[in-house]
């Protein structure tokens, strides 16, 4: 039920996604960006890129 991916692939993708996303959050924290909406859009883009 991992949408055609093996468990290993699925976990790898998930870790990759987490690292990308937490990296973006950390950068955001440093740059004092307080706009949550922009951050959500950015995370949505990361998600699309990693999954595709």
């Amino acid at each position: 039920m991992n949408c055609g991916m093996s468990d290993e692939e699925w976990t790898k993708k998930k870790n990759e996604l987490f690292l990308e996303m937490i990296g973006a959050e950390k950068k955001n924290l440093r740059t004092k960006e307080k706009n949550d909406s922009k951050m959500v859009d950015q995370l949505r883009t990361i998600l699309e890129e990693v999954i595709q």
Partner: protein, 665 residues
């Protein structure tokens, strides 16, 4: 981050002053001593003004008063603070300045009236000037404003924190600081951005995309699912609120129970005291009634029959009785003769020797008696008369006895009332001036206990509702997935949705576990430092809502609250230092910070000053203490080996508008 220097120009009472900070690992303390009013607080506030533009004073004009006086009309002058620091091996110069102008009317005003542009911030990175945006980013990276109150704090700040601690307030601020220091802020933000209720999130965006241009069944299912998810969120909110309320009420209830247990003897004493007081009042009331009864008896029986009793007694003393020789009676005199009565009446003297007036009631009584005897030729039988007299005496004696009994009863009642009063005084001594009101505490305990029971019921009910709605949501999700799977074009979105849900769940679980661990670690470190600063045997705990309390609810004294603040700040530094050794992907980068304190030791005795003076330089990378001379002498003595730089602040010729700083070697 290490502070290198601070320079102030035309800032408040300083025209031109500079402090270079001690940066040696072993001699990391800079001690600045000064009298009250010399300008210690001004300096600590200069840090915050330079870094964040916070003024911290009521007076908006920061330009030195002497400069203002000497400034010609239509001319300008500038106040500035410059801080030199090292951050990640890079040198920074941060300069904030504010320009003023003197009008033709002699008034001083800001050159730039716009609040957002009233002052200018310049940051030089290795002597290269940064643009405005970069400057703000770098500044936030060096020391975020929300953390700064814990590293640059003055007396007012400590007072504020102390009050919050003593009132046991929930502190989001403390929670944020802990998260920030240990590097959990990004993780917290990420879980929020991935999925939350009511706001924009990645999860919400994906759902919107999936339902857009989809079949009516899918749209309906999605709409229903969204509604159910909102209902679930609302239940979870109520659950959370109820749990917090339950936790608080339970805590307060235990506080009351603990108070009542501590004062169990007092409670009993107070109860006994109330009973004794009631008894005392009752005894006095009864005594008063008896006195009234006695008065009535006096006026009725005694006042009207007193003389008759005396007379009867005297007559019965046999003085006037003739002996009845013929009878065997033990009476000496048997008959009272008319002659004898005439003799008494004519003598106009009572048998007791008092002279009688003719209207005297006893004279009248004897006269009537004599007349009766004359009329009754056979004379009055003395025995009968004697019986009358005896009756009079007995009745009056009974009254006397009754009155005597009543008086004894009154005495006894007064004695009992006195006894109650003595017992009350004994109890007061035992309570030793205790002022609390046990009844009030019992009432509060009852109130909190009711809240605990009510919230328990709500929680139970909401848990059931939550389980039911969760089951519905699971069904709807399953159904929705089936609809989406039918639509091949949505497959990619479904994968993303599944990934987001799973990632959110994982992060949430990891975050909760980390936060629990960190809170426990923080509590342990805080306790250890508090033990070192104040005393052992006082257990601190940090609740889920980040309230710092004492485990046995003994309440905090001012010195204890201040000790906790110092311990708290040292713990934050300790955690930050420790965090540097842990490099985990989910954590934010962390940094050690210097600590700048204004007169932090006034609230402590010498022993505690020694403890704090020993701990601070070990926990903080760099310590800058502004301190008044008296406390400063102790601090200087105990920190001697760690002091790298010493300064003193003086007022120029006692002027409050002209202070200067000089290094003491």
């Amino acid at each position: 981050m290490k502070l290198v220097y601070i320079k102030v120009k035309n800032y408040r009472q300083y025209k031109d002053a500079r402090i270079d900070f001690a940066r040696d690992e072993h001699k990391n303390v800079t001690l600045v001593k000064g009298d009250n009013g010399a300008g210690k607080t001004t300096f600590t506030q200069a840090f915050r003004w330079c870094l964040y533009g916070d003024v911290g004073f009521d007076d908006d004009i920061i330009l030195n008063a002497d400069v203002i006086d000497e400034l010609p009309e239509d001319k300008g002058a500038e106040s500035s603070v410059e801080i030199g620091l090292q951050f990640h091996d890079v040198e920074y110069r941060i300069i904030r300045s504010e320009k003023y102008i003197k009008t033709s009317k002699g008034k001083v005003k800001l050159e730039n009236k716009l609040e957002t542009e009233r002052n200018k911030l310049e940051i030089y990175q290795n002597e290269k000037k940064l643009n405005k945006l970069d400057a703000e980013i770098v500044l936030n990276e060096i020391l975020p404003n929300e953390l700064s109150p814990y590293f640059f704090f003055d007396g007012e700040r400590m007072e504020h924190m102390s009050r919050a601690l003593m009132k046991e307030k929930t502190s989001d601020e403390i929670a944020n600081v802990i998260r920030r220091v240990v590097g959990l802020t990004s993780m917290d933000k990420l879980r929020y951005h991935l999925k939350n209720v009511g706001r924009k999130s990645v999860y919400k965006l994906l759902n919107e995309e999936i339902t857009r241009n989809s079949t009516s069944e899918l749209q309906e299912c999605s709409a229903l699912l969204e509604r159910k998810e909102q209902e679930l969120a609302s239940i979870e909110d109520t659950l959370k609120e109820s749990r917090i309320m339950h936790e608080q009420a339970e805590q307060e209830m235990y506080e009351e129970i603990s108070w009542l247990n501590r004062h169990v003897s007092t409670a009993e004493y107070q109860k006994k005291q109330t009973e004794l007081e009631e008894q005392r009042v009752e005894h006095l009331k009864q005594a008063k009634n008896k006195i009234l009864q006695l008065n009535t008896c006096m006026s009725k029986d005694i006042a009207s029959g007193f003389l008759e009793k005396i007379l009867a007694e005297e007559i019965l003393r046999k003085k006037y009785w003739k002996k009845d020789k013929e009878s065997n009676s033990d009476l000496e005199y048997t008959y009272l003769t008319v002659d004898l009565l005439d003799e008494i009446l004519e003598g106009k003297k009572c048998i007791c020797g008092c002279e009688w007036a003719e209207d005297n009631e006893h004279y009248v009584f004897l006269k009537d008696l004599r007349d009766q005897m004359k009329k009754d030729k056979d004379g009055l039988e003395v025995k009968r008369f004697k019986r009358i007299l005896e009756n009079i005496r007995d009745v009056k004696d009974a009254s006397f006895r009754s009155m005597q009994d009543t008086m004894e009863e009154i005495d006894a009642l007064y004695e009992k009332a006195d006894e109650c009063e003595r017992s009350i005084e004994d109890l007061e001594e035992k309570m030793d001036g205790f002022q609390g009101d046990v009844t009030e505490h019992l009432k509060r305990k009852k109130q909190q206990s009711d809240i605990v029971q009510d919230t328990e019921q709500i929680i139970e009910k909401k848990i059931e509702e939550k389980a039911a709605i969760k089951a519905t949501i699971d069904d709807l999700r399953e159904k929705k997935n089936q609809y989406i799977e039918k639509d091949q074009t949505k497959n990619s979105l479904l994968v993303q949705l599944k990934m987001v849900e799973e990632l959110h769940r994982d992060i949430n679980a990891a975050y909760m576990a980390k936060e629990t661990d960190i809170r426990a670690d923080f509590e342990k470190r805080l306790q250890a430092l508090y033990d070192q600063i104040y005393e052992k045997g006082f257990s601190l705990q940090i609740s889920d809502s980040y309230v710092i309390t004492e485990k046995n609810n003994r309440g905090l004294s001012e010195a204890q609250a201040y000790s906790i603040i110092i311990a708290f700040v040292c713990t934050v530094m300790d955690m930050a230092k420790n965090k540097k050794n842990i490099q985990e992907a989910y954590m934010d980068e962390s940094e050690e910070y210097p600590i700048v304190m204004d007169a932090p030791l006034s609230k402590f005795d010498i022993d505690r000053i020694e403890n704090i003076s020993t701990i601070l330089p070990n926990k903080a990378d760099q310590v800058v203490i502004f301190i008044k001379n008296t406390d400063g002498n102790y601090a200087e003595q105990y920190m001697e080996e760690r002091i790298g730089k010493r300064y003193e602040i003086k007022m120029n010729n006692g002027s409050k508008t002209d202070s200067f700083i000089r290094e003491v070697r």
